[in-house]
């Protein structure tokens, strides 16, 4: 038995023993995710236990080094863990912007002290993080941000406002872009800082979306004290940290194009087949087939990009391509899902429509091509970095 086979056998046994039955099978809905944090809520006590046992092993962040609380697994081992979890349909023990976003940034840019302090509590789900990038009026022009940090010796005083901060009202800490040099060119006077959302002067207000949900907040900073030790990376070079992180986010959002049941089956469930065995809406059928071709090709493209990245055959800007295509595809997919659902899917509050799940999901997808850099911004990046077009 190779090392990897041994690892697989042990992992399988451990998961069997430790993954509670309640934490197996698909999530009923997005609200049931485990986010951790000081005020964590859990669907069942088993979900809490599942987060904790996985966190102890570092398997919520399997590839992070053990000295920072991570699992210390190799990429191959992490894949085995993933496939064994899928085998028993195990739910994710922890959803976390700390794991997805801040962690990779700290591992790359943080001081030893910062890594030791922040990473372990992220792994264990003790602290929930949110991201403070966008500002009202800035939109795609992220670097035009106005939130300013005044130097007061050993700390800064931060004033300003962020918007689109996901779950800011439930987060414990924020990683945040602030302007530390108002006189520098706009990309050069920005720093990447961390602070506690419980600091006096921080307030949040949820934003209701067209889907009726409020995952996002406006977040206000009024004379908020931020310690200088919580600067990540170099002063006034926070844009580098942010860019690295954004590329990461783009890949994640782009991957949405990869989700869900085949649209043809969704449509057949709703509309049935005609006497020739074809979907009983010929025009919709043609659109669905085109979509399924694009979905299949996009999935393969994600796989290919992964392999190209590994083989160092491609620029990191390729993430913009996946972000752009994946989010546009996901929007198209949900337009077709609504057409397949017909009037049933238009019911906003009935139990039949599960309180308008399809419609709310459809509306939610419209943000895919806006958040994490709009489709237009991705196309600009492709034109500039991948095609080297002049003036792009």
């Amino acid at each position: 038995m190779t090392d990897l086979e041994t690892f697989r056998a042990e992992t399988r046994a451990w998961l069997e023993a430790n993954c509670p039955a309640e934490c197996r099978g698909p999530l009923d809905n997005d609200e049931d995710r485990v986010w951790g944090g000081r005020n964590a809520t859990f669907k069942t006590p088993a979900h809490k236990r599942w987060m904790e046992v996985m966190g102890e092993r570092g398997w919520t962040a399997p590839e992070w080094p053990t000295e920072y609380g991570g699992g210390g697994l190799t990429r191959e081992q992490a894949k085995v863990l993933g496939s064994e979890m899928r085998r028993i349909d195990a739910q994710s023990p922890l959803s976390s912007f700390g794991i997805w976003m801040l962690g990779p940034a700290l591992l790359q840019f943080g001081t030893e002290e910062q890594k030791k302090r922040f990473l372990p509590e992220i792994v264990r789900g003790e602290i929930r993080w949110c991201q403070g990038y966008s500002e009202p009026g800035a939109g795609s022009d992220l670097a035009g941000l106005q939130t300013r940090a005044e130097d007061r010796g050993d700390h800064w005083i931060v004033n300003g406002q962020k918007v689109w901060t996901s779950y800011a009202d439930q987060a414990d800490w924020i990683f945040c872009l602030v302007r530390t040099d108002p006189d520098a060119p706009k990309h050069l006077g920005i720093s990447f800082v961390l602070f506690d959302m419980a600091t006096p002067g921080v307030t949040t207000r949820p934003i209701t979306l067209i889907s009726g949900k409020s995952p996002f907040c406006e977040t206000f900073f009024d004379d908020v004290r931020v310690e200088k030790e919580n600067l990540v990376g170099t002063l006034n070079r926070g844009w580098d940290v942010a860019k690295a992180l954004l590329a990461h986010e783009r890949t994640m959002i782009g991957a949405m194009g990869d989700m869900g049941r085949p649209m043809g089956q969704v449509a057949v469930d709703s509309l049935g087949l005609d006497e020739t065995g074809r979907l009983d809406e010929p025009m919709l059928r043609a659109r669905i087939a085109e979509l399924e071709i694009d979905v299949a090709a996009f999935r393969l493209s994600m796989e290919r990009v992964g392999d190209q990245v590994k083989a160092r055959q491609v620029s990191p800007a390729i993430a913009s391509m996946l972000k752009y295509y994946g989010s546009e595809l996901n929007k198209r997919r949900h337009e077709l899902a609504m057409a397949a659902g017909g009037s049933d899917a238009l019911e906003w509050e009935s139990d039949r429509s599960r309180k308008g799940t399809a419609a709310r999901d459809w509306l939610r997808t419209k943000a895919n091509s806006i958040e994490g850099g709009t489709s237009e911004v991705q196309l600009n990046i492709i034109a500039k970095h991948l095609l080297q077009l002049p003036g792009a």
Partner: protein, 372 residues
């Protein structure tokens, strides 16, 4: 017939736009929605609609209506699309009024004046499954005693929860028959279904609903022509509503492009957005021509007006869809918030697209009629 509004029609348009801007702007929809109004429409507004002559726009003057045609009904529908005003206009003033205008004079006298006055609300119950398929009705009406017994389930019945009476399309052996049924008849169950756009519809279940023979509108087995004629008028008016909503979303977007600044300039200066806006403008103008032509042909009784209607409904649907998608995308993050109106347009367009046959349904009709 020139493909532009006549002077009278332009006056009607100004009147409708002006009335709605004053009495039922988008805040009216928000109020009904957020206060969880039990009706989902304002009865007062509907009576005012009656007074203005809008509720009875196609109803003959002898029955208290304005005695106007499809083009004028389209003008009102487009105005409603611009302000997203919930009202029983499509169900009561267009579909039901059109069916009734072919009915016996007693039925006309009983209902048309009250519809025109905005006092009565009637709903047409046709759809059964998730898609509009009027050729495949399965609700049945069997002879029973002095009349008929109806069984079946209907959905997407516009304003069914506040209807005084329902016009139900049912199979009677060989053909389709239309029945006018009091909403309080025993065996009729009506459940309001709040829709994504905060406009109104209902599901109607008919369980051994016993009606007299005089509930039949027109002839037994002979309801198909009246139904088809009403549906076609309805489709053309819904297409006009799509134009109203799509065009209004477009106009707000162009305004936003002119004023919103990013990277130090108005976003409308970015050529990529300019070209998309110009393309959308073009599509909207072309859709407007198709819709007005369909309405005019209905009025003129042109042969194949039904195909012009399918062109209009399909084209207006696809274009309005593009308009609201571009509107949200070009507005960026704020376009996703409930606070901005642009999302409301997106929701309304989705419902109007589905209503009385989506673009695919109408494309199928075009193909069939084209012999391919």
């Amino acid at each position: 017939m020139p493909l532009i509004l006549t002077e009278e029609q332009t006056m009607l348009k100004d009147a409708a736009d002006g009335f709605l801007a004053e009495h039922a702007p988008i805040s009216h929809l928000r109020h009904l929605r957020d206060s969880k109004d039990a009706d989902g429409v304002s009865r007062d507004l509907w009576r005012a609609f009656g007074e203005m002559g809008f509720a009875g726009v196609i109803i003959p003057e002898e029955h208290g209506g304005s005695g106007l045609g499809a083009v004028e009904a389209g003008v009102v529908a487009e105005a409603l699309g611009r302000t997203l005003t919930p009202s029983p206009f499509f169900g009561s003033s267009v579909l039901a009024a059109r069916v009734l205008s072919d009915a016996a004079s007693a039925d006309q006298q009983a209902w048309l004046p009250r519809i025109a006055a905005g006092e009565a609300i009637l709903s047409l119950a046709v759809d059964e499954g998730p898609k509009h398929q009027p050729a495949r009705i399965t609700t049945t009406a069997e002879r029973s005693g002095n009349g008929f017994k109806l069984n079946g389930a209907k959905g997407f019945v516009l304003d069914g929860h506040i209807a005084d009476a329902l016009i139900v399309a049912a199979k009677t052996g060989a053909g389709t028959t239309l029945f006018l049924i009091d909403a309080r008849t025993s065996g009729v169950e009506i459940e309001r279904t709040v829709m994504v756009d905060a406009h109104n519809a209902a599901r109607v279940t008919l369980t051994d609903v016993q009606v007299d023979a005089d509930a039949v509108l027109g002839a037994v087995d002979g309801g198909e022509a009246a139904l088809e004629s009403a549906l076609n008028l309805g489709r053309a008016c819904v297409a006009a509503g799509l134009i109203g909503a799509g065009d209004q979303a477009f106009l707000s977007t162009v305004e936003y492009l002119r004023t919103r600044k990013q990277f130090g300039k108005a976003i409308g200066e970015f050529q990529a957005l300019q070209h998309r806006a110009a393309h959308l403008f073009t599509e909207l103008e072309i859709a407007k021509a198709a819709v007005l032509a369909a309405l005019q042909r209905i009025d003129a009784g042109t042969e194949k007006a039904d195909l012009a209607v399918s062109v209009a409904k399909a084209k207006a649907g696809r274009v309005a869809e593009l308009a609201v998608q571009e509107a949200v995308q070009m507005h960026g993050g704020v376009g996703m918030t409930d606070e901005y109106d642009v999302g409301l347009f997106m929701k309304r367009v989705r419902v109007l697209n589905e209503l009385l046959g989506d673009a695919g349904f109408h494309a199928e009709r075009i193909a069939r009629a084209g012999g391919y």
